[in-house]
């Protein structure tokens, strides 16, 4: 059995029963893997691109302000996750918001993932996605 064949078998097993990337490299081709282990700081281009492509929805919070959210299935675990951007009070005057128009997106599904620390959500994957455009 050559190495490529072994790799395909391992990936298939990890995808089927879940597993740790520390011991088995996780193939993104097998995503979504609902029983994958929690992997803190997990990052991949595929995950970020999929989350970035999900559309922002504008939600009116008051007559004057809105917040934005996107709701999608986590590209890795397939569980529902959300990303929220909302207004708030800064500790000081700060205007140049567009210079940092990035939003932290993290899988925040509530489904169980092995090895996940207490009080944490999701499967551990996250990344930066562009912030929604401020239209008003």
């Amino acid at each position: 059995m050559d190495e490529d064949t072994k790799r395909v078998i391992v990936d298939a097993l990890v995808g089927a029963v879940g597993g740790s990337q520390a011991t088995h490299p996780e193939s993104e081709d097998r995503w979504p893997m609902s029983r994958c282990h929690w992997l803190g700081g997990g990052y991949s281009e595929k995950w970020t691109k999929a989350v970035a492509d999900a559309p922002w929805h504008e939600r009116k919070t008051t007559d004057e302000y809105v917040d934005w959210y996107k709701q999608l299935a986590c590209p890795r675990c397939g569980h529902p996750m959300t990303v929220l951007v909302a207004p708030g009070v800064m500790p000081s005057k700060y205007e140049s918001i567009r210079d940092h128009a990035l939003v932290v997106a993290r899988c925040n599904c509530r489904q169980l993932h092995t090895d996940r620390p207490e009080k944490q959500l999701g499967c551990g994957y996250g990344g930066y996605v562009p912030a929604p455009e401020v239209t008003r």
């Binding site: 009070v89 000081s92 005057k93 990035l102 939003v103 562009p130």
Partner: protein, 220 residues
């Protein structure tokens, strides 16, 4: 299709995001806490001007009006020492007020509303606010030292003017008996060394020929 950012999420980035979420939920409490702290700062700023009266010198600023030379400008006579001390009091008060203002801004910041309160925005704003607070704190300390120096100079001028200026003799009540009558009047030693009647707002008048002059505490 939206572009994406090929950048991993570091633990510190996640912490900023968590703090942004917490700050967003605590927005009202933040503003109210800052307002409360500022209301206390108002009393401090106003109190500075009261405290500055400490420079008033041995008795009161009004005492300095008679100390030292005066400059006459038309009908107005301006005491030099008193004017200098008053000017120093004002400079010290302004410097102290500015020092309190700067310290208050450094301590409280100036909360502002943002439409997108995110981790990256909070991280950048916190860095900018920290640099501003450092600058305000440094300015506050410099202003405090400057105010202390001005206060010291003002006190020195005030006290020195009292030391080098002979005390003025206050008018003394006296019962003056002349050949034509008796009167109780305030008297003081005139510029020529003789006793003179010292009525308020009137130039001292020589007593002239008096049979007896009896000093009393109060006129009957």
């Amino acid at each position: 299709m939206a572009s994406y950012v090929d950048m991993p999420l570091l633990p510190d980035d996640e912490q900023w995001e968590d703090e942004a979420t917490a700050a967003r939920h605590g927005s009202l409490a933040t503003v109210r806490a800052t307002a409360k702290a500022w209301s206390e700062s108002i009393a401090l700023v106003l109190g500075v001007f009261t405290t500055a009266a400490f420079v008033k010198g041995p008795e009161a600023l009004s005492d300095l009006a008679d100390a030292g030379p005066s400059v006459t400008l038309g009908p107005v006579s301006i005491p030099v020492v008193g004017s200098v001390v008053v000017l120093l009091v004002l400079i010290a008060a302004l410097a102290l007020a500015a020092a309190v203002w700067k310290a208050a801004i450094a301590a409280q910041g100036s909360p502002s509303w943002t439409k997108q309160m995110t981790g990256p925005v909070l991280a950048a704003a916190s860095a900018a606010a920290t640099q501003e607070a450092i600058s305000d704190l440094r300015d506050s300390r410099r202003l405090t030292v400057a105010a202390a120096v001005v206060v010291f100079v003002g006190m020195s001028v005030a006290w020195m003017s009292q030391v080098v200026t002979p005390a003025k003799t206050e008018p003394q009540n006296a019962i003056v008996i002349t050949s034509t009558g008796v009167a109780c009047v305030p008297v003081k030693t005139g510029d020529d060394g003789t006793l003179a009647i010292a009525m308020p707002n009137v130039s001292p008048a020589p007593i002239g020929s008096a049979r007896t002059i009896t000093l009393v505490e109060e006129c009957p």
